[in-house]
Each structure stands twice: as C-alpha cells, then as structure tokens.
Subunit: 314 residues, 6 copies
C-alpha cells in the first residue's frame, strides 16, 4: 500500500517561471532516465525478491518509494516554472471567435513564443506538467529492466543511477535559478547514494559474476576480436588479465581465418585460462542447486497469501 | 512524498499458479486501462489543482495513492500466479551446452507450452511481472489524459474508471480461483466508488458544461448531421431537446446542399435555440474573469515554495 | 462504404501562412485528442453495436463520418497555413552541391527559422500536413478506446469530446487570423454537440450504472480512503450520499489498521448502504440474462452476411 | 466531407466464427500494410496535390475513400469471425465473486483457449475488432509516407500496394471458409488495380527519374561497391547499363583503396557516363523553374479558401 | 560477420558547428527514411534470399553494408556539427549548486538557445548524435518492410530509395556549408544508384507482376471507382489500358447501385479483359509449382549449417 | 565503413525447424537486450569518444562490429528454425479463391497452429526473421543509452551485457537442439567477455566515481531513508561504510519529521563524512578543468574532417 504525505522530502522552490527550463526538466519526469523510470524499475524488480531476498525487497521498496517522491519534486519544479500559463489559458474571452482583432499583440507574441518551447504546454496541459521527455515522447515501460535475478538487476540499477546522475549534472548548465539548483543538487546526490546502495546489495550475493547461474565457455571468454581496422590501440581490455575471471587476454586479428581454420570455432582450443569443462560444469551444478533451492523453498506454490495481517483489537 | 507500507489494502491470495490468467491480468498492471494508468493520470492531473482547487488536489492524491496500492495488488496476484517459473529458471545446469540430450522431456514440453503464453515470462522476467499489457505492449504515457481543467479531467476520470471497471468484469470470466475472484471483486468495486467520487467533484464546479470556458456557437450546437446513409433510426440525439443546453435538435440530411446554400455555413441562421451572440459573449466574459482570477490569485509567480514546513523541536 | 465529397462541411479559410500555428493545429490532426482519434474511436466502437444496438450504430457512424470530414478540415487549415514552403522546396537549383555560396542569405535564414518550428515540415512533408501531434509523435491507436459495451463506450466518448473541446479552446489563444478562428469556433462547437448526443444515447440504456453488468460489492463501494496526509479537506466525495448508488460515504483514515483488523477486509461489514448480497446477485442475474440474450439474438453465428443488398433493376 | 453508406462495396460474409483467423485478419485492419495505412497514406498525400495536381488529388481521394470502405469490410469480417464472444461476455452472473465454483468447466476451458489467441479479444474488446496488428501493436502513423512530391509518393504507393497484395495472398493459406476467401480475393485484386493506377499516374509526370528535382552526381551514380565478401555473383545491377540513366556499371572491389587514392572520392573522375556537370546543372535549373513555378502559381498565399461553394437557391 | 574500417567511403567534412542543421540531419540517421532504415531493411530482407536467390542476397548485403557506412557518415557529420557542446558540458564547475550567480550570462543564453533546438543534444547526448529523427522520435523497426518475396521487397526498396533521395534533396536547402553539401550530394546520388540496382534485380524475376504468386480476379482488376465527388478529372488510371495487365479501364460512378444490382459484386461479369478463370488458375498453378519448388530445393530442413568453412592450413 | 564477410564468426547450425523457439530467439534479434541493441548502443556511444578517447572508440567499434555479426548469427538461427514455412507460402494455388474446399486439412491445421506462435511469421515475413522482440514489439532506439561520458556509458554497457547474458541463459531452457545450444553458449560467453572489457575500460579513467564531473553534496550522500514500513531488514546499504565514498551510513526513519525540522533539509548538517564544501568544490573544479580541456583540445571546431585519407599511388 502506498501513502502520500503532502510534505516533500526536500524544500522545492522556484524563483520565477522559466518554460524553457521546464521543458528540459521534463527529461527527469517522463524521460528515459527520469524518476518514473527509476521508481517503476525498482518497484517491478522488487516482486521477484519479495520471498527469496526479502532484505533486497525492502531496500528496493524503500528506494522506489523515495523515487516516487522525487518524481513529485521534479513535477513540482516544472509546475512552478510554468506558473502563469494556466491563468492565461483560463482568460479566453478576448480570443473567442467573436473577436477578430487582438489587443495586446506584442505580449501575446511573446507568450506564443514561450509556449512554442513545448507546444503541449500551451494546448494540452495548459501550463502543467506532462508525462513525457523533453522532446515530447510519452514515457514508456520500454525504459525499464527487470530480469528476476539480483546479480543482473543490481547492475541495471547501478547503470540507471549513473545515467540519472549525469542528466542532473547536465541540467545545472541550463538554469541560473539558485533555488532550482539546490533541488538539482539534492536529487543528483541521491543518485550517488542509491548507486552505492545497489552496489552494496550486489556484493551480498556471492558469487555474482558472471551474472546469473551459467559460467561462460572458457574457449571464447578471453579473446578480443579486432573487427575495426585502421588504427591500433591497446588497453587492459586486450592486454593482461581479464577483470573478473582473471584469464589472460588473447587477441584475434583475423576472425575469418580463425573461423575457417577451426570449423567455425568448434575446434578451437582454450588458451590463457585455467577453467575447464569440468570446473565449469561443477560451478553450474552447484549454483543451480543453491539458487533454485533458495527460490523454491521461499516460494511455495499452493494457497499463497501476499501479506500476513496482524489481527488487532478494535 | 510517498511511503510504502508492506500490508496490502486487501488480502491478496492465489490458490495455485496459472500463467494463462497471469497474462490476462497484465492488462490491469501495464495496460491502457490498468492501475498504473489510473495512478499516473490522477497524479499528473493533481499538479494543476494544487493551489487552485486544493480540495480536489487532496482527493486526486488520495485516489492516486490508492491506485498505486492497487497496482501493487495486481502485480502481487500475477507474481503468485507465476510461482514456479523462477525456481525452474534458476535450475540451469542440465540445460547448459554441455548437455546435448534432455531428461524429463515431457515435463519440459509442458513447461515450454505454459511459458509461451507470454514468451517474456519465460525469457525476460523469468516468472515475474512485466510492465506491459496482455499483448506485451509496454505501458506508455500516451494512455493518460490531463488538461488542467477539472471540468475536463473529472470527465476523463469517469471514463477511465468505467473502462477499468469493465475490464475487471471481463476478467472474472477467465478464472475459477475463488481467491483471485475476491480480489477482482474488490478492485472492480473500487472503480465504481472512484467513479462516483469524480462525479461528485465535477458537480462542485458550476457551471461545468461545456467543459472549459468558452460557450459553443448557437448556430452549430444543435444540429445532427446524417452522414451515414442506408437506414434511418431515431433517438434522443436527434429528436427533442439536447441534454445540457436544452436546445431543440435539428437534423440535416444533406450537408453538401446546406454548405452550398450558406457559403459553407457562414450564412447559416440559428434555429431551435434561445442562445444569442450576446448571451454567449457575456458567459465567456464572466467565466474568463472568474476562472482566470481564481487561478492567478492562487498561483503567485515569484519565489514559489511547494511545501511549507513546520519547524518542530528536535 | 465511404464517399468523399469535395465540399467541406464548413468554409475553411486562412488569411495568410503561419507555420507556427500550423504546428499547433497538428494536435487536432494527428494528436491524442484530435479528429482522427475521434473518427477511429467511434468507427471501431460501431462494430459491436451494429446488430445489437442498430440505432447507436447509426449515430456512431454519422459522427465518425462527420469527424473524418473534420479531420479533412483541420488538415486543410494546416495545409494553407504552410503555403509557400512547398514551392520553395521545389526550387532546388541554387542549393545543389554545385553552389558553395548562397544568395539571398537573410531570407533563407528566416525560412530556416520557420521550418525549424517542426523540422519535418521542412524536410519530410515539404510544407504539407503530417499525421502526428504538435510534438511530432505519430498518431497511434493507443489513443482510442472501445470496449463493446455502450455504457462504457458512451462515457469514453463524452470524455473524448470534452478533451477535444478544450484543445480547440486553447488553440484560440495562439492565432489572430479571424478566418481560422471561425473554423476553430465551428469545430469546437461540434464537440459540444456530440457530447450531448453521446449523453443522450447513454440515457437510452437503463440501468447504465455501474457500467457493464456486474454490481459492485457493497462492502467497498462507499468508503473514501484518506491516503494523502497533511491537510484535511472535505467534499461530497466523502460526505453525504454517493452520486449514483446513493450510499452514505464512509471515511477510513487508517487503511493499515482497517486491513489488520479485518484480515485484509475479508471480515469487513458493510455500512451506510441498503444493498445486500441478495439484491446484488439478483441484479447481476437479471442484467446478465437481459443483455446476453439481446446480444445473442441479434448476432446469430452461422452464415453471416454484413449487408443485405437490394436487387434493383439494371 | 465524408459520407458513409451502409452497403459495403462487396458482399462480405462469414460461414462460422473463427477467432484464430480473426487475429490474422487484424494485420489488414490495424497492421503496417493494412487498409488504414493505405487510406491514411493516400489521404495525407492528397493535400499537397490538391491545387498543383488536381487530377492526382482526385485519384488519391477516390482510392483513399475506397480503402476506408475496405477497412470497414476487413473489420466486418473480423467482427463476424468473433461472433459469440460478446454474448458470452455479457453473461457475467455465474462468474461474479459470489460464485466460487464454476459450472460448465470444460466449455469454459475451450472458450478461454480461443480467447487467448489474442487476449484483448477477451478482455478489452470483448469479441470485437481492435485497431492493432496481429501481434497486438496499435496502429501507428509511422507506417505511412507522404513527401509532397508525386514522383516519390506514387512510388511509395506502388510499394504499399505490393505489400498489401502479398499479405492478402498469404492470408488465403489460413482459412477454409469459402466466403472469407471470396472477400480476400476481391480485396487482393483491388490492390493489383490500385498498383496500376499509381503507376499510370507516375507516368503522367515527365521526367520522373530521379524522383524530385535534383540529378545525382555522375561520379557516384553508376558504381557498384562490393562490400560483402565471400562469394561472387553477377547481375544486371553491376553489369551492363543502369536501368534509368543508362550509364555503364562500374564495380569497385576495394572501397578503402579507392577512398585513399581519391582523397575520399573528392578527386574521383566519372566513368561510363555521358552526363556532365553542365548537363546536370541545366536539368536541375530547368526542373526547379518548371516545378516551383507550377506549385507557386497553383497556390497563392493570401486569403485562401479550401472549397468554392455554389450558391444555390434554397 | 561485419568488419569496420576507420576510413569512410567519402570524405566527410564540416566547416563549422551548426546545431540547427545537426537536428535536421538526424532525420537521415534515426529517421523513417534514414540510413539505419535502409541498412536494416536490406539486411533483414537478405535472409529469405540467401539460399533461394543467392545473387540477390549478395546484392542486398553489399548495399546493406554500404548503408551502414552511410549511417556512420551521417552520424559523423552530425557529431562535427555539434562540436563544442560536449566540451562545454564537461566544464561544470561554475554551474554547480555552490554558485548561485552566473558569469558570462550572455554567452550562456546563446548556448541555451542553441541547445534548445533539440533539448536532448544538451542534456542527454551532451553534444553527440542520437538515434532518433529530427523530432526526437527514437528509431523504430516499424519503418522497415520485409515480406520474403523479392517481387515485393525490391519494390519496397525502390520506394525507400526514392524517399531517402528526396529527403537529402530537401536538406540542401537548409545548409550553406559547402563541405556538408558535398557529402549530401554523394549520399543523395547513391540512393539513385541503389534505386536502379533494385530495379534491375526486380527485372531478373519473371513474371514479377502481380507481386507474389496469385493473379487477381479479372472481374475487379480494371475498374476505377469514383468515390470522390465534386470535380471530374480524367487520366490514364481510368482511361485506356492498364499499365501491366493491359486491360481496358472501366469506370464505376455509383458503387452502391452496382453492389445492389450484383448482390455485392458476386454476380458481376468481367469486362474489358481477356483473362479468364482458367487462364488465371493456370498461372496460379504454374507459379506455385515453380516458386515453391525453387524455395524447397534451396532450403532443405534437416541439419542446416549457415556457412561452409574452408579448412585452411594454420 | 562496414564490410560484410559471408562467413559467420561461429558455426551456426540447426538440427531441425522449430518455430516456437524461433519466436523466443527473436528476443535477442529485435528485443530490448538483443544484439541490435548492443551493436547500436556501442556504435552510437563511439562518436563522442572518437577524438577524446580514441582507444575506447577503437574498442567500442570492435565490439559494435562483433555484435552486428552476432545479430546476423541470431537471425541465421531463427531463419533456419523457420525453414519450410516460406516454401509452403509460395505454394498458393490450392488456397486461392477458386478452391472452396481444402485437401490435406489435418496437415494444414498443424501448420496454422505453428504459425500462430507468431502470426507475423505466417503472414508478414512468411517464414523469415522479423526485427521485433518475442512479443512482436518492433525494435526501438528507446532501448539504447549514450550519454557522452565513458564513466556513464561503460556502466550502461556492463548492465547491458549482464542482461544479454541472462537472456541467453534463460533461452537454454527452451531448446533441446544440441547445435542451437552450442551457438547459445558461444553468444552467452561473448557477453561475459565484453562485460569485462567494458569494466577494464572504465578503470582506465580515474576518478570514475561519481560518474561525470560533479561530486554529490555531503549532506545527502550517506543517508538511507526508510520509506517502506512493515518489516525491518539490515544490510550494507544502511550499515557500515558506503562502497565508494566510504562514508558512514545514516538511517532516517522519519523523513517527514526530518524535513519539518530542517526546513526541507536546507538546514541539515552532514554526518559521518569527511567531505566538505571546500573539498567538493576543489574536486569539481579540478575535474572540470581536466575533462573539458581534454575534450576541447581533441575536438577543434573549425574545418573538421572525419578521416584522414592516405594518398596512395594508383
């Protein structure tokens, strides 16, 4: 169940209206990396954790609820930045068809110009917030990721928080309002906080690499393919040891030749790795047993009830 | 600010898994007429009411928060209906590439068949809820309406509640689980409740017809055009008095002839109505003044602060 | 079958080109609340009425055809507002790659500026109308609602007409062209007309509340939940009688406590209502029989033919 | 203005319901290559032709109106194929929450199975047609093309008709109903007719290649680049003369080498062509003058009126 | 397998940044008729040709790969046109919340104005290219067509190349940069080349009209329906012989009367054609046998391997 | 420039057709986490790195090109899994309208059933691959992220690879074909490889936390808000030190009270951190200077040329 409390978490203020910046702020309201994306992603991910990882469920719901509050704060900022348009749009008399000629033309020109920043501010929401991004694309659930495995979902969240953080960073550049900047600073900082919380949650699951259960095939896991000809650069993604499996990087400069010589890699031999078919199969088996047992024990199939209610005295 | 409370509003239960019905229930989770649509529509509409119609703001936020809780309940039902899939998906060992031949083939065939009901239950969410409709379309904000005028928004909400109600009604047909039916019954009933609440709110604004400020032109407001030839039917939409303006219906059977004779209606004379240019202009003027004043007084433009915090002792 | 007649229903005129207003008008061409949405919504709804409610089918088709004509009129207005761009775009010689330096640079700058209002006016439609909204989102059938029950569909239509009306109202504010205003006035008025027609049609079906067949559960139908803390407002949505079922509003300020005390509402007792399990079941039964019989009798399943043709002499 | 006539152009009939085929037919109702796509594409294209190419405007409107009628016919077929579902969905009594246990379970199972073909047939449209494709994607205006030049638009239409034709062809494979096949045969044939009509219209404009005004650069117009290594095939797209410009095909097997040797083609010399900078510039100039003059003369910018009404006696 | 080579096919250059034109160029990067649409359409079509029409597969892959290179070139142009924004966006210090007041306000105002051309250039991609069209719509696979029949697909491609050509043509109008024009000229010319290549490929398949296998019904193939009343125009789409089937055009001015007299065309007699039921059935049969045999022989179902690798010496 | 080589990187094989699994594999062809998403994400990200981080540009292009090859391999698998449908669809004779009665009805029933798995396999692509996900949603660029900062983009990529990996893992469960499993194993492993490569690239940039330039505010960076009431769980996301900034976690159980007491956090004092306004401002300044200088030096604005061609002898 969700409750709304009329106070916001942070003191959201605006010095004066600014429809142009309101349009940019939409990116964090109904945009791909905005607050609704965050809230919905964590909320949807939480379902698969509820019984199996109840402590992660609790964290996801904490942060999802906080993000809903941030959505409200972003919307509040946009709403205040648009103040004046709605009043204007309720003053329709002189614009009706009975009036062929306009008074106050200059002011109207300016008003029109402002409204054109996002035409739907003028003619759909009439000076109110819209659930779209800064280009007018309605928010879509295609933005969110939830794959029922915290070793994947926590990484999706770390990336989401990184993107949300940098969009707030970029937004600073487009406003001079010191009050709006305070709000941006708070919201940007919270993404940094959540990033670290998801990282901490990821580390409670061991092993967490590779994400999921299955180990990768040792024949293909440490080869860099040079598919982009013309300059040659080096880096730790093709030299030395790989970051997680600690295998030695191999470089293949001619993938066609390699494929031809190995019947399309079927006859390839692993190099620079200690992992074997046996060691991998053992890990696959061990993790399958551990994780599937954990899920099954926590989620009995019959006669399920989502919440246990506490019978209290009336 | 939003809080989440782990209890649900209603006791959500499921007798046994049923992926087919889970797919249908998605319609109320991430579908056009589902709970997220309701929650987001009322939440977004609330912004324009906050200062101007604070009592409607309060009601919209009450219902938006309740709908978020219903979203959670619908998701909980789907999640429980899918129980078993996630456990199966964590048991990957025998499926890895090292195992060319499968055991337990018959059971697997059946499992595959169930998963195919919505393939993303099998390979994306792995037995967890997805923010899409029953056909897999991700939720989009194109579903919601908010036009910054309660005489419009309340009507949008009445229609939304009507659609949500009938989708719950239709869903009854597709499940035998008595516990799921209890939940459907509760959720369906709440739509009926909200419908009446939005209707009551609409009635607090007078006049509320036509929606918005401007009165329609009396020359075109009471004519039914017969543009669909072949049968002739009558009804109160072309006979007698119109429902709100109480004008007498006129029927035009030949719109081309009418247009030709009146220079494209420019020379048309009103019939069956008492409304005049003067009476309309007066109403336009009066409503413009009333409503724009109300908005402007409630929404000063300078140094805005969304919430007033109460300084309490620490 | 549809016929097109080259006359428009109303005399559509434009004093001079105005690409900025053309962009705004797109909202009523390919936007969520525009004329294509109206035409397609009524057209699609009509199918389920054809045999069961032939008089409503007739009305829906009348209005759908009229709305197609309005779509044409909106498009005609936009097209005339863009006059000049297409001619310019066919004058490509000086712009080809053979000419590094431009003549008439100032004029071109201005031309570019106008085109940037909606870039696709410049480089896709080359000064012609586009089937998208004012922000460039292509029209999508996600905008329309049709649920095969006139007690729902008529309400969807009342809301759609309300939204279309207010968008026309808002548009007045952004043009000074007296001829365009005449057209806006006509189109806005027709939405008011159609609103009343759908309302009249809804009233021909009794009972029409709640929409559909099933009555709501009397335990949950008259409670307002206070889920939005911080201020307290009253209103007829929580005080007095509900608008349709005439039950007495109950207010619950602590939904968690209520749920805990009633095992998630399962043990809740109805209050402030005369409706009973028996009275509801009787109504459900009666309506099921009436409505399903009506549908089945009107729609035999075998050897169906959509139109009966009249054999005429050649 | 559009009129609807209740007769369909062709005698649309269905022997017996078939929800599976109904789902497939949706492809031609709300699908990418379906009848709404055709109708809207021609309707939108018509605007730019109205004054400049009035005879093509007339043809586009003829065919657009016919396609709207075909949309109706496809919808009528789907509606009849779904007969029975709506009646069932109005018979809700035994499914309400008061009834924990179901009668007629076997029949219901089958009903559910049929409905699952497209879940929205069951729970959204309740046995009625939906404006989406066979996979449930709502129709979107992203499907249509209109570029304000008949040498482009007619070619878009030829392609659209080709696609619509083959989808009807494929549909034959999935029904045994002889009446439905008659309808498919009629609709498929009309696509063949329209194809030829658009081709004839294209030929009335000379020259029509390349589409638009500007001639291509003779240095790059007749080279085939071999960018796909591994097998060598020949064909008239790299041997002999090009189809329209009648230049001799050149083949470049090493685009990198060519770019390096010619400073990224800037120093490339034309081969196998008689076209020159001069001949091209002359053509560009001539066509620019002809076509822009034609557009400008036909579309005066001031005081535009879409239709001229004939003042008739009342 | 795809390789990337760092050289571009053509020397892509930009004289100086121009965010406004960058926005327009997006249309050819992530727009409906842009280079990704072309590349993906040909790439996806190629699959059905691989075994059945290997020479067309080769051509489609040649052109698909070339179009990917053009996508890169368009993106490179946009990227260079946006130079400066990214550097600005990495200079965040003075914008952080610690600084309430801005220096260099005028410059910033201008910067903001430029960024507003497409807000996502400012706050999402920070001066880099975006995979959307000029209005910010993300690229969607709804733009591409592939129907597994080269007589359809080649025609889709001819139309796609026509549209891509004219969008490049229109773009010339909006830039003065002579270097950018050189690139536009090259890219536009290549569309003309590809057009002719697809036409040549179409001609290698005989017969190729009607597209696909099935012949149309001779009763409906040569009638023009006059559904658009008000003016009368003639043209080769209703007079003389049809372009491909060489049947004599018939005109029906009253489709309702015709339908009534022929029981919805069921009793219609063919006119102006030599085609008969027998000749059509023969052609259907012949083509079915030829084409299905060709497909089946080229695509054995068992133990398929996509590539045959050549075992080379190591 | 891109080249296509007809060999695939890995030996893609299929034992026998399986349309059901083909549908599931679509998820990795045109789905949110599929190969096109990967290829396009890295390709688009590469632009902002080209001059500033040329070694990361090289790596992104290497992997983008490899992913295009994987897209081809996934498509090849789907294509082979659908073998047989296309041949059937070219055998249209017996299905034409001349044949009211079908032979081989049982076989056809089965064929229809298979096709219904994804109806567009039957009637759009006719047994060929489609650029959509397993639910038929066309691929959209809304799936990709590119924010012009490698400290963000590399994290987006790590998350993308994690998701792609687990979808391949889940797919294993739905096929018994040992050859298909080999391909899944190869592709899954490559995601593990790329994950580590992006992680290595991220580590070459120091500092890389927080992503971007600006440091978060020390007042808000280490507080966990308990917004989800009902159970209490602990974890390293609220206890001990934060993962990156090494600040001590603070827990706030009553955000409303905290906001009320601190004027909406404006008066909040930092706790559990050594970071100060000064230390943060210094870091902001230092990073701004370093990073913006790096970008500006690498990207001069005038007379830009994407590639330097090497003049070779002809």
């Amino acid at each position: 169940m969700f409750y709304h409390v009329k106070e916001t978490q942070f003191n959201v203020r605006v010095s004066k209206p600014d429809p142009r910046f309101a349009r940019l702020m939409l990116e964090q309201f109904g945009g791909a990396n905005g607050e609704l994306s965050a809230a919905m992603q964590y909320f949807v991910q939480a379902y698969s954790c509820k019984n199996t990882y109840p402590e992660i469920y609790d964290m996801l719901m904490d942060i999802a609820a906080e993000e809903l509050g941030h959505l409200e704060m972003v919307g509040a900022t946009i709403q205040m930045l648009l103040t004046g348009i709605n009043g204007e749009m309720k003053d329709m008399h002189e614009n009706a068809e009975y009036n062929g000629v306009m008074n106050g033309k200059a002011a109207k020109e300016e008003f029109i110009h402002e409204a054109l920043v996002n035409p739907q501010f003028g003619i759909i929401s009439a000076g109110s917030v819209i659930l779209s991004d800064s280009n007018g694309n309605p928010w879509t659930a295609a933005y969110i990721s939830a794959n029922s495995d915290p070793t994947v979902d926590m990484r999706s969240n770390i990336a989401s928080e990184s993107r949300a953080k940098i969009v707030y960073e970029y937004l600073f550049k487009y406003t001079d309002d010191p009050w709006v900047k305070k709000t941006l600073g708070f919201l940007m900082t919270r993404e940094i906080t959540h990033y670290q919380q998801f990282e901490a949650a990821l580390q409670t699951i061991e092993p967490n690499f590779p994400p999921g259960i299955l180990q990768g095939n040792q024949k293909y896991s440490n080869t860099h393919y040079n598919m982009s000809k013309g300059d040659k650069y080096n880096g730790p993604w093709k030299e030395g040891m790989s970051t997680q499996l600690k295998e030695e990087w191999q470089v293949c400069d001619d993938a066609v030749k390699q494929a031809d010589e190995t019947n399309g890699l079927l006859d390839l031999e692993p190099k620079g790795t200690d992992r074997t078919d046996k060691s991998i199969e053992d890990l696959d088996k061990k993790l399958s047993e551990e994780r599937s047992t954990k899920v099954r024990e926590a989620n009995p199939e019959k006669d399920q009830q989502w919440t246990q209610f506490k019978k209290k005295k009336k």
